[in-house]
């Protein structure tokens, strides 16, 4: 365990990322409120060097949650989030949500957590002071109450809301009799939980944390500690706070855009047992018996991530022929080569290969996670590329799959069609790359792609993907304004605004919804609030097509001028020259922020090799 002086001297030596790594080790070793406070205190003066995303979180609660706050803030820090937390008054959550003058709304949170427990929300059920008829009525009433509170929040704030289910008691009042009848205590709680889920599902940006399942995962009997409940009104035991904080982190990472898009995996002793170059195809361990079945579980966990839209890549020190033979000829393999978007099978260092993979896949290096059984390789990657999320594995494969499944950086709060189809996009991309490298002229290459785009106003069907693109797109993004589904919805409903979404397809396949333009009309000026395209479609004139569409649409509705900002970030240099390249004039510049203008009396040309299908949606 690193000692505190090592951390302090790393900070004094301005080695900020190393200091953060050491703090993480110290905290993982003993995740106490005291260590969390130590971490937060040390990190405070170096915050600006850590490229943190700020997030304002309000915690409303029916019970004592205070010890979770420093732990949650420390965990968030390790994931690149500067969490600013306000805790609501004890058991005053209804009042805070209903009163538009409350501290909650004055704080202006981006995320609200409502932390409740059964003994506060359903005291009659918890204390066995209810009848079967009561319980049904109570479930309906609790659901209606929650819905009323959600409605109150939505009328005043676009903040995301995280609700939780209510937990079962460790020992039901009626003992095992409780599960013999369908009107028992646990069934009453289950019914309420169904109503909570239904209430959440009716609103955008409202998510359910399954508190009962969380408690079950770590052991109901050990979750709380009667000594602390009876003396300090503390319903959670000392070890439970870090579990609760970690569960909140699973929600905060996707909400703050701090998730990984791709998983880079090692092969030998990670997805099969043994070393194929030495043990041969028949010598590696993979199949029904231990340890082969442990590696099958790892492969199942990786496949589940693939289905969640996580891009997969291979990084292995091997002779390519040996490794590829396993994929082609081993009967027990669940993973196939077509699950992978890129591979690096060679004898170069993993760090070097991972850097190349990030370029190949065209995603930021901080969106990569790395899975390798070898602690030396993990340490090397951690040292040389601290931005990569390195997944720690225990010794021995039995717990590899669980370690991968518990990693929070792959959590998603919604799955778009694009997420589900991501694997096939990358296969089509490899075929396009082959065509381009075959030496045809650029115009001919564009033409041969047979690109078709469809541009239409955002609808209830596309709103999740549009919001996701504003949150995730970093490189080709002129202003990098992040919007929630709720915010997109209110812009789309405003007559002065337009939210257009672009889907693209070519002869190699469907790109899905990959472009967004958000514009705002004031007088005869149309201002481009947001303009972004997914990196997988950049460089194929689709960006020109979308801009041309925006200009035509603005001109046809009587606008005379088109304006747009380029707001620089650490990642969006690729979009810096976009407006001047399309004939815009710069009219203002300060601190690298540039405002451009285009005179709409001139037509902004459409790339003739892109075919347009415009669809005006009735749902606008």
């Amino acid at each position: 365990m690193p000692d505190r002086n090592q951390i302090i001297s790393a900070i004094e030596g301005r080695d900020h990322l190393r200091a953060l790594g050491l703090m993480r080790q110290l905290f993982d070793d003993a995740p106490t409120p005291a260590n969390a406070q130590f971490v937060l205190k040390q990190a405070a003066p170096i915050r600006e060097h850590l490229a943190l995303v700020p997030c304002r979180l309000a915690i409303l609660r029916s019970f004592t949650v205070e010890p979770v706050v420093p732990i949650l803030r420390a965990l968030a820090l390790f994931h690149g989030i500067d969490l600013i937390v306000q805790v609501g008054a004890f058991n005053a959550y209804s009042k805070e949500l209903l009163d538009s003058g409350s501290d909650l709304y004055a704080f202006n949170p981006e995320v609200v957590i409502l932390a409740t427990q059964t003994r506060d929300v359903l005291p009659e059920v918890w204390n066995n002071d209810f009848s079967a008829e009561d319980s049904e009525a109570q479930a309906v009433r609790t659901g209606a109450d929650i819905e009323h509170l959600i409605g109150a929040l939505r009328s005043r704030s676009n903040a995301h809301l995280i609700l939780n289910t209510l937990e079962m008691p460790a020992y039901p009042n009626a003992g095992i009799l409780d599960s013999q009848r369908n009107s028992g205590q646990c069934e009453a709680i289950r019914t309420v939980n169904r109503h909570i889920r239904d209430a959440a599902a009716k609103h955008l940006g409202v998510y359910v944390l399954d508190y009962d399942a969380l408690i079950a995962r770590f052991g109901r009997v050990n979750w709380g500690d009667e000594s602390k409940w009876l003396t300090m009104r503390m319903p959670l035991g000392a070890d439970s706070f870090v579990h609760l904080a970690s569960e909140y982190i699973r929600f905060l990472l996707p909400l703050c855009g701090r998730v990984c898009k791709a998983l880079v995996i090692d092969l030998d002793n990670t997805i099969w047992g043994g070393i194929v170059g030495e043990d041969g195809l028949d010598g590696i361990k993979l199949g029904a018996e231990y340890p082969g079945n442990a590696y099958l579980e790892v492969q199942r966990a990786i496949l589940d991530l693939h289905r969640r839209g996580i891009i997969l890549a291979i990084c292995s020190k091997n002779n390519p022929d040996d490794a590829l033979e396993v994929f082609k000829r081993h009967d027990a393999m669940l993973l196939r080569l077509d699950h992978f978007a890129a591979t690096r099978i060679n004898w170069k260092s993993k760090a070097e290969n991972i850097r190349e993979l990030a370029i190949d896949l065209n995603i930021g290096i901080d969106a990569l996670a790395f899975l390798d059984d070898n602690p030396l390789e993990r340490e090397e990657v951690r040292m040389l590329i601290p931005e990569v999320h390195v997944i720690d594995l225990p010794a021995g494969p039995a717990h590899f799959a669980a370690a991968l499944r518990s990693t929070p950086v792959f959590e998603r709060l919604a799955l778009s069609q694009e997420d589900r189809d991501r694997g096939t996009y990358y296969l089509a991309e490899q075929q396009r790359a082959q065509l381009q490298s075959s030496g045809v002229a650029l115009d001919d290459y564009y033409r041969s792609l047979g690109m078709e785009v469809e541009i239409s106003a955002v609808t209830s069907r596309t709103i999740a993907r549009v919001a996701q693109l504003t949150q995730k797109t970093n490189q080709f993004n002129l202003t990098t304004r992040r919007y929630s589904e709720q915010e997109i919805e209110s812009k789309a409903a405003d007559a002065a605004w337009r939210v257009d979404a672009l889907t693209a397809t070519d002869r190699f396949g469907d790109y899905g919804l990959v472009g967004v333009a958000i514009t705002n009309r004031i007088g005869d000026v149309c201002e481009i609030d947001s303009f972004l395209l997914s990196c997988r479609v950049i460089g194929r004139s689709v960006e020109t097509a979308l801009l041309s569409h925006v200009a035509r649409e603005a001109a046809s509705s009587g606008m005379r001028t088109l304006r747009g900002w380029y707001l620089p970030t650490r990642k969006n240099a690729p979009s810096k020259d976009f407006y001047p390249k399309h004939g815009f004039k710069m009219i203002n510049e300060s601190d690298g922020k540039m405002l451009f203008e285009y005179d709409l009396s001139k037509e902004l040309g459409w790339p003739d090799w892109v075919k347009l299908r415009t669809v005006e949606s009735a749902a606008r």
């Binding site: 106490t32 005291a34 130590f38 010890p67 000594s227 602390k228 009876l230 003396t231 000392a238 070890d239």
Partner: protein, 80 residues
């Protein structure tokens, strides 16, 4: 762990959760003479000690831990 090492650990925990310099925390410190040692700090002290020392305190122990000295008494009795 020696008694000195335990004292150091307790002083650090009290200082961190109360957000004061460790130099201000002595054997005699208690919620009565250290203003920052409030009820929330007390909860965090108990939780941190339980995890650091791997011991779940009884209600009687929790109620007796009202100064650095009293905390040491509980911890050394448990270690003995």
């Amino acid at each position: 762990m020696t008694n000195d090492a335990i004292l150091e650990k307790v002083r650090n925990i009290v200082a961190e959760v109360s957000e004061v310099e460790v130099a201000r925390v002595s054997l005699q410190s208690s919620p009565d003479n250290l203003e920052e040692w409030d009820s929330l700090a007390q909860v965090n002290i108990v939780l941190s000690l339980e995890q650091e020392f791997g011991h779940q305190f009884s209600p009687e122990q929790i109620e007796s831990m009202v100064s650095v000295e009293k905390i040491l008494e509980v911890l050394t009795a448990h270690a003995a």
